[in-house]
Assembly symmetry: C2
Homo-oligomer: 262 residues x 2
Amino acid sequence: MGTVAKALSLLNYFTADRPEIGLSELTRLSGMNKATVYRMMTELQESRFVEQTDGAKSYRLGTAVLRLSSLREAAVPLRETSKRAVRELATKTGETAHFSILDGAQLATMNYAYSSDHGTCVMMDDAMELPLHATSSGLAVLAFCDPALVDQVLTKKLDVRTPFTVVDPTRLRGMIQNTRDTGIAEYVSGFESDVHSFAAPIFNDARVAIAAIAVAAPVNRVSSENAPVFRRAVFDAAHALTHATGGFPPVGYDLKLEKALV
Amino acid sequence: MGTVAKALSLLNYFTADRPEIGLSELTRLSGMNKATVYRMMTELQESRFVEQTDGAKSYRLGTAVLRLSSLREAAVPLRETSKRAVRELATKTGETAHFSILDGAQLATMNYAYSSDHGTCVMMDDAMELPLHATSSGLAVLAFCDPALVDQVLTKKLDVRTPFTVVDPTRLRGMIQNTRDTGIAEYVSGFESDVHSFAAPIFNDARVAIAAIAVAAPVNRVSSENAPVFRRAVFDAAHALTHATGGFPPVGYDLKLEKALV
DNA sequence: TACAGTTGGTTTATTATACGAACCAACGGT
DNA sequence: ACCGTTGGTTCGTATAATAAACCAACTGTA
């Protein structure tokens, strides 16, 4: 790993829970030399990727990322388009909906929407990172992405989030194959307890999955009666998003789904 | 400039007009060695700051910037809050409104809104970069930011955008002082010909200007009659935004404005 | 067919630059 | 007065970035 990649990896320690990080803390987190971290953060600061909150000397993400993401959004619109789709999906299903994009070997939540139909609903965090092996969105992407990513994910040690998180590669491969067959992923309590989620993949112009849209409901609100409604709604949303962003599903995908969802 | 900053500076060559760049082109633009550019882009690709569009080998901004900007937005909300304010301002004034944030020695447009009240309106580009010396937004920020930034901007050679762009440091200092006195910036045809714009600064918690919200109208639609309406609308929007984002205006700022805008 | 000018990508010795241990000074608690 | 923090600095050393030159493939054109 070169200097640039190492410096950029420092940015990964910023999360929604830890939006500001001090020098010593960052040194500890990264395991690098303090002087090295300091030098890198200084450079990142010059480039405005981070900024120092005056008073406290801790770092937080800077303004450069805003400009770059605007540009990315101008080149590859996704955030805006998906936002509408997510809101519609939440309204239609009466449950929490969210959209996440593949970023390395994880999914980055881009946006989500709640419904006020019920007194309770599944809660989300801003910019949440979703593991591929523990979420329906993850299964949806794994089922239709580059096979190399599947191997990469399954050969690593997988985090256990709940007693129901599947970490056995063989079982996961089965679930991925099942998702590939049905076109829609489901996961019960894999990431958060008592949550049943449905997800479908969004494809790029090379017919590869790059993102997923999902609905998450409390387990006790999902029945054999309304599950088909959730599946249908998720599929329709994903289908519309794929087309709205200039992508194409794999050959036969839509047809198979249309038949299965009748 | 260290390696990291040099590598990150490559990202600045991506613009709304040039969303994808090939290796040779980027080498030419940056003036660096081709092998160096290649290695840096490879590292940026590893970190997912850029990605290669398959088929063509050209680079475009990657998914990492999306995740980081979501995090920044979670830590320092600005984009979402300002979007609403801009839309309201456009509706209220019947003219194009936009919000831009200070990024280095330039303003990065974060969002804008058109009004359909008239057959024509001032057009904006996504992620447009606005020079501080040629726009009302720039004057608004310069009038209430760190004085060091003013010096930095005024000592550089300033770009001429139109025959009306002011590049004389002395005259600019006068305009900045004038903005400081009135609290609201105005500029006629400094950036685009035949455009009259009004802008007011948004302050952070240290009472320093970090952004601006503005209205831009065709010169012939601005009269001594409606100009006060524009000023009032821009001030109200900026005031609301400053407070919505947890900032504070300089002591006496609001009072002075309230009096001037009666 | 040959040529000139592209493109993205690779190799090489050289040397500039990033590195890390150890060191400050300042602050906070006990 | 002490210990454990914090952010930041120093300096000799060795690693990692550098640039020129070189590929191979492709494009237009003559």
